[in-house]
Symmetry: C2
Subunit: 259 residues, 2 copies
């Protein structure tokens, strides 16, 4: 099954969509947050008449387990340029995710001015990076759905620097659209794993992605960094670059630092 | 009138609050986005039983004009640690803002671990920075509600660097709580003003703030930067530090780069 298949949504009644959290997208039994957001974003996009997400936020309410979910959408505003949609995804017993996003036309006439203060992360080519393959213990099944190759320096997780750099694509080189980008922005291991701090897992409270463009075919180059571990939380900032050296997504999530 | 007065909300029926967009908080007639978000956040906080915002996102749907607004709230989940609330603010004719946020107890028992990869911006003391005072033309009335003193290097707006650094407090040294921080994260001039690009205004599509703590009394030190002007949009990243050198808020907004 492709990502496109696994993230399909179907309109079942006014403003209500159904979808299925497919098996295999999980980390320790819980579906990847970016994958869940991609499903919700597809429902939001449908509710927005096919417009695609520009800025989208998810708050994660409960782990997503394989099986049916419903997505209730509400168009907050349909404007000339943007349609803003809120949505709630729920499984049969509880809410899983709340979403708020603004969607725009794919071929919107935008200001082409560009000024970029950063560059894609410098990395060895994909074949010299470290592929994360699912095993019976670790990495998780999710890594069978995506192809993630970590910068060798970061793969060792001994740098003490809360950062991961690597190459990303969907398996079978499936094309990456706006929804695939939402998987990319949440596909890497938590930066805390590289920080050598005594914390096992940092659950994501909230994730926001800004989608700046549809990637050209090929590998994405990704960098995730954390600058502030403080006040019980940490942020993870992501930058996603396509094969034409264009920034296609920027993301930030707020994660809880457990005691 | 204090900020606290000007951002009051009142429960009028189940899940519905009323509030008033007060005069004087505007830029060219449109209320400051952080001020609007603060009102919505107060309603969200009430709906969350008095919990305070940790991560909160607003999508701006229409300019806020002085006068009455309603805020319809929906508790997406009430959890042990977080209550997640969505809300829509509307004036008498149209929706103004959509909000999604997670709220936590003020005295939550959090992991005190800290690792910070940044420092507050270095600036001359407030008295040697450039106070923005409202005049009949510029700066706008909003600057009468806050006391914003720009780094002299940035106040000239000739650096070509899309960055503003400065000191912030509310007028009359009103104490700044979580809601006051939401004003701070949107109080500075658009970074594009310092970038010397031929763009007059960059309307904010979406603003997300992560609130890491309640500030100690005194001035806040703030820095806003833009790294990616591309694809028709730009982000503005904010960092807010309190008088004890603690990061109290981090923010990011996505703004449209008009043609």
């Amino acid at each position: 099954m492709t990502f496109a298949d696994d993230s399909l949504v179907r309109l079942v009644s006014t403003d209500r969509f159904s979808a299925t959290i497919a098996p295999g997208w999980d980390i320790m039994g819980n579906a990847n947050g970016g994958y869940l957001l991609a499903i919700a974003a597809r429902a939001g996009s449908e509710a927005a008449g096919g417009r695609i997400p520009v800025s989208i936020t998810a708050h994660f309410l409960a782990p997503g387990r394989p099986g049916p979910v419903s997505i209730d959408t509400r168009v907050e505003k349909k404007g000339r340029r943007f349609t803003t949609v809120s949505a709630t995804m729920a499984d049969e017993s509880r809410p899983v995710l709340a979403m708020l996003g603004s969607f725009a036309d794919r071929d919107a006439d935008l200001n082409p001015a560009s000024r970029i203060e950063a560059t894609p992360p410098e990395m060895p080519p994909p074949e010299d990076c470290v592929l994360l393959e699912p095993t019976e213990t670790f990495p998780p099944p999710f890594m069978g759905k995506v192809e993630l190759r970590l910068h060798p320096e970061d793969a060792e997780m001994t740098s003490g620097i809360p950062r991961f750099r690597g190459w990303f694509r969907l398996r079978n080189q499936e094309a990456i659209d706006s929804f695939g980008l939402l998987v990319a922005v949440d596909a890497f291991p938590p930066t805390i794993f590289a920080a050598q701090m005594p914390v096992g897992w940092t659950p994501t409270l909230e994730l926001t992605a800004h989608l700046r463009g549809i990637p050209e075919p090929g590998w994405l180059r990704c960098e995730f960094t954390t600058r502030f571990i403080s006040g019980g939380y940490l942020e993870e900032d992501g930058e996603i670059w396509d094969s034409s050296d264009r920034l296609v997504a920027q993301s930030r999530q707020l994660a809880l630092l457990p005691k």
